[in-house]
């Protein structure tokens, strides 16, 4: 059983795609679609790594990231932010809030795979 990746994202097809890419690479992928309850899900697992979308129903990915980083148990979990907006200031905000990596949609599958591998090794 591979390490656990939690994917917080609300588009069903994108969930399916990333789930496919990562489980083929040996990770165990958990998914969650709602921003409000995401934090509870993280605490319940907790995963070895989180992939976090910015625009979520209920609560923005940045808010969640901020809470992740200010909570003891989760502050060291690697987080990769995912966004369809792809603006420079979003990237700055994400990195300033403590994201380990920032990726814009659309992404290349191999990039996702490689970054997840790299972050898990680190």
């Amino acid at each position: 059983m591979g390490k656990r990746v939690l994917l917080i994202e609300d588009e069903p097809n994108i969930i399916e795609a990333i789930g496919f890419i990562l489980s083929r690479d040996g990770w165990t992928v958990y998914t969650h679609q709602d921003g409000h309850t995401a934090m509870a899900k993280v605490l319940a697992l907790p995963p070895d790594m989180i992939i976090l979308d910015v625009m979520l129903p209920g609560r923005s990915g940045f808010e969640i990231l901020r809470e992740l980083r200010s909570t003891d148990v989760t502050k060291d979990i690697p987080v990769m932010m995912l966004t369809a907006r792809g603006q420079e200031k979003d990237r700055d905000l994400a990195l300033r809030l403590g994201a380990n990596h920032f990726m814009t949609k659309p992404f290349s599958n191999s990039d996702v795979r490689d970054y997840v591998r790299a972050m898990m090794d680190a």
Binding site: P12, Q33, K41
Partner: protein, 89 residues
Amino acid sequence: MKPPAKPPVFLERASYRQRRLGDAGRFLPVLGAVLWLIPLLWASDGPETPSKAGMVTYIFVIWLVLIGLAAVLSRLLPDTDQPSDDTRR
């Protein structure tokens, strides 16, 4: 915008199994209720009446069986957080 995919008529083996497990989860309380109604059939006073200790034992054994079945089912039933549960039949 994405039109809901029509559910297929036949399911893969795995999802078929999961849905039947859901049925089992729904059936369990019915089973328990029926078994616990059996005492109504006991004759209230007569040679056929079970002993008092027997009555108590019967109720508690059924109870244990239900707990055991529920424990097994709770492990097997699909994760409710996964979208594979009810949306993708």
